[in-house]
């Protein structure tokens, strides 16, 4: 049964907030471990995991909020707010969200795996363009082939992680049918069998299955 979520839906808010927290923590962990790659701005993109999940569970609008908020939180915590690194991160995040939301809306066959790859690619491209503009040199753009190739790999890795999480929601609470943004795609997709609501052994209360109005 389809339930239209209202904007102030408590559950949506809670999941959105949890995803912001997840994205911020993953982003911080990432900013602490710099991969030994000779390209600025290339990270695993783990934080994009939270945005992919938000897009799947909550829709494009919430995904944008999650993405923008986690970038802001990471910048605040890492002390990079206002620097060129922040401009790159924000533009990358916005470009990634735009690409993923556009794909999710317009191309029905693309799964979160495809979103993630497209998001990673637009993320690095936007970053390199902004770096070029900021530094007034085409030098950053000369790195784009390597960056794109790495983005493809990282996008695939994050996409597969997202798929795992989407097919096995971490809390029984989240596993309710109709959870997906496009109602029921979690149940329809081949990798995710129908999800019964099972009581969580850790004592997480399961919600009543009687639908509210």
């Amino acid at each position: 049964m389809r339930r239209t979520p209202s904007y102030a839906d408590a559950r949506t808010l809670a999941i959105g907030a949890a995803l912001v927290a997840l994205g911020a923590v993953l982003g911080l962990v990432e900013s602490a471990i710099v991969p030994p790659l000779p390209v600025p701005g290339v990270r695993l993109g783990l934080a994009n995991l939270a945005v992919v999940l938000a897009l799947a569970w909550l829709g494009p609008r919430r995904a944008l909020e999650v993405s923008a908020l986690r970038v802001l939180l990471v910048a605040l915590a890492a002390g990079t707010l206002g620097g060129p690194g922040f401009a790159m991160a924000l533009s990358g995040a916005l470009a990634a969200w735009a690409a993923m939301a556009a794909l999710a809306r317009t191309v029905p066959g693309v799964s979160p795996l495809g979103w993630s790859v497209a998001g990673a690619a637009s993320h690095v491209l936007a970053q390199l363009v902004v770096a070029s503009v900021l530094s007034g040199s085409v030098a950053p753009l000369l790195l784009s082939p390597l960056s794109l190739a790495l983005a493809l790999l990282c996008g695939l890795a994050v996409g597969y992680s997202a798929r795992l999480l989407l097919s096995r929601p971490p809390l029984a609470l989240w596993a309710r049918s109709g959870m997906g943004w496009k109602d029921g795609w979690l149940r329809d997709s081949s990798h995710a069998p129908a999800l019964p609501v099972t009581p969580c052994s850790q004592g997480v209360p399961t919600r009543s299955r009687t639908p509210r109005s």
Partner: protein, 120 residues
């Protein structure tokens, strides 16, 4: 992976492959013995056949460039991640060193731009 996913992956892979010759073309026109250094204070050119050590003023400190054996590398930088140092020696036209936190870039292969006062 759905069929549409494969198409997305193929498009990104094609972009990466297409960017390779484009980036090479963009840089190949320049000379291999000149590095264009762009910093927040301006642009200048370094001759790679004259060994030396140069300090480039960046946004949050300096980037030290070392020219030796016809190559240039960032030997030291005041940035947190030191990605520019990790980029190593550069000598082919079109290759580049980028330090984002300092907003300093070094690109091999210069045109004929008038030097500005950045390098001390």
């Amino acid at each position: 992976m759905t069929r549409a996913d494969r198409i997305v992956v193929a498009i990104v892979a094609a972009l990466a492959l297409a960017a390779w010759p484009l980036a090479a073309l963009a840089g190949a026109s320049g000379r291999a013995d000149i590095a264009v250094v762009t910093g927040p204070k301006g642009v200048t050119e370094l001759r790679l056949d004259a060994p030396g050590r140069y300090a480039v003023e960046g946004l949050r400190g300096t980037v030290e460039l070392v020219v030796e054996d016809g190559t240039v590398r960032a030997a030291e930088s005041s940035c947190p991640d030191k990605l520019c140092v990790g980029q190593g020696r550069m000598h082919t036209p079109g290759s580049a060193i980028v330090c984002v936190p300092n907003s300093v870039t070094v690109r091999i292969g210069g045109g004929g731009d008038a030097p500005d006062a950045v390098v001390r």
